[in-house]
């Protein structure tokens, strides 16, 4: 019986999968310690966040889906850690919110619960988690225009009047920096939050980065993070190692494997064609 008919997955494909798993397993078992360079866009994002001053309010919109944690999660964790470190060091305030889907709010809660040290910080005064405010682009526009009109409670049902740090937040002009993480289209964010003269940072899938570049070039987005390598760079800059740095060797091997497959595929194709089979 034909292999495909028998199992549904061709043997060659299985071999491709298996080699990939072995390749990424090697550094997971024994790290290779390959060199790393920090990209200029990572440094730019780090600088913009680090430049926040005492009393400044940063709003971080966590909108990525749970399935894309592996790509967006490490940088998100690194940025949260940085922001919460700045609450301690400089006295900034942080608003966390989700607009796109349920997933974002669950990711945000998970990061706050498992990755960020919130001990000694006062909820409602130093940071606040607004949870999911459905509506996506309409919510983004509403927050920029009339913050108090759209934000009624936080994620835990506390009304806004019980959260002192939000008392003076009327619109986007009261927020010093806005950041967002997304695993879908980046368009709504610069459309609604760009052009206000505030830093607007994106943490996204690396595949989405080219899409953000026309906005970045026009400074509607002022900084971007788009891969585990950027996450690793960010972790190095903050001095707080995490998942990004741990997966760096595997990334190198998997990219080289991808290039290798293109070359092998073409050699295979041209050899067969020359042999009259192509």
């Amino acid at each position: 019986m034909d292999e495909v008919q028998r199992t549904g997955i061709p043997l060659v494909d299985r071999a491709v999968f298996m080699i990939f798993i072995i390749l990424i397993a090697i550094p997971a078992i024994s790290p290779l310690g390959l060199p790393i360079s920090i990209s200029s866009n990572t440094v730019e994002v780090y600088r913009q966040i680090e430049d926040l001053k005492s009393g400044d309010i940063a709003m971080w919109i966590t909108d990525f889906s749970v399935g894309t944690w592996g790509q967006v999660g490490p940088a998100e964790v690194a940025i949260y850690r940085h922001l919460f470190d700045l609450i301690r060091r400089k006295g900034i305030k942080v608003i966390i919110v989700t607009t796109y889907s349920v997933d974002g709010s669950l990711n945000a809660e998970r990061i706050l619960r498992e990755y960020v040290d919130t001990r000694g910080l006062k909820y409602g005064e130093d940071y606040v988690n607004l949870g999911w405010i459905p509506g996506y682009e309409t919510t983004l526009m509403a927050m920029a225009k009339d913050f108090q009109g759209i934000v009624k409670t936080d994620a835990y049902g506390n009304t806004i009047d019980k959260l002192p740090m939000l008392r003076d937040v009327r619109s986007i002009s009261d927020i010093a920096l806005i950041g967002f993480s997304t695993s879908t289209s980046p368009d709504p964010y610069p459309r609604q939050l760009g052009g206000y003269g505030k830093p607007l940072i994106i943490n996204t899938l690396i595949a989405t980065v080219p899409w953000t570049l026309p906005y970045y070039e026009k400074r509607l987005i002022t900084g971007y993070i788009g891969a585990e390598s950027d996450a690793a760079g960010y972790e190095k800059l903050t001095g707080m190692p995490g998942e990004g740095l741990r997966t760096l060797d595997a990334q190198t091997l998997s990219h080289i494997y991808g290039v290798g497959l293109i070359i092998i595929g073409n050699i295979w194709y041209f050899t067969r064609r020359r042999g009259g089979k192509g």
């Binding site: 368009d187 459309r191 585990e228």
Partner: protein, 218 residues
């Protein structure tokens, strides 16, 4: 210990699909759907509680305009009725309108006006001028390719053809990055299944695959 073991078991259940479709994968898939449904309902109800119950019942704003939104929201559920399904079109129309209106408000400036501003072609630094020219040419030609209102004939034909090359550069970039994005998901999971105790679950999975192969061969 137990956390890592549970995580590795569910990862292997899902990844078993890469070998072939099987009962473990389907259990994992059903579990994922069930959990996702529960999460959606829980968070959805939380939002409705915070947005409707607190202002109207707790704060006793009985005549709040929010009630109209609630009525519209409930009207959506008439889509399950054969005779009243048309009522659900009202809230959907309002929702779609608001979505498109808001998107268009932002798009005019961010996606059209600001993107039309391309840097000068005559700069002190010749490379900047050349780069600006390439930016201009690639933008115009790729836009021309999508002009389906006119047939790609005459002067438009070479422009649209050049547009294909512009887009190949852009799609090449995306393809490379697309692979990177997608393999990133697997990379982040692998440490769980190759280090103990996840490793033990992986060994069991490998044994099951070998046994399955032997049975199939017989």
């Amino acid at each position: 210990m137990i956390d890592a073991l549970v995580m590795s078991i569910v990862i292997l259940m899902a990844w078993s699909f890469l070998y072939r479709e099987n009962i473990f994968y389907r259990i994992g898939e059903a579990l994922l759907v069930g959990l996702a449904l529960a999460i959606s309902v829980k968070v959805g109800l939380d939002v409705l509680f915070n947005r409707i119950y607190i202002p109207i019942v707790v704060k006793q704003q009985w005549l709040s305009p929010t009630l109209i939104a609630v009525a519209l929201g409930l009207m959506m559920y008439t889509r399950f009725s054969k005779s009243l399904w048309w009522v659900s079109r009202w809230p959907i129309a309002l929702l779609s309108g608001a979505g498109l209106g808001v998107a268009m408000k932002g798009a005019v400036m961010a996606q059209i006006v600001r993107q039309l501003d391309i840097g000068s072609l005559f700069t002190k630094d010749i490379f900047t001028g050349v780069n600006n020219l390439i930016l201009l040419v690639t933008a115009i030609t790729s836009l021309a390719y999508f002009l389906y209102t006119f047939e790609h004939k005459g002067a438009l034909a070479p422009v649209a053809k050049l547009g294909i090359y512009s887009m190949m550069i852009c799609f090449g970039t995306t393809l490379g990055l697309f692979l990177m994005s997608n393999i990133g998901f697997a990379i982040s999971l692998i440490p769980t299944v190759v280090r103990p105790p996840g490793l033990y679950a992986s060994i069991v999975a490998i044994i099951l695959i070998i046994v399955d192969n032997l049975i199939k061969k017989e």
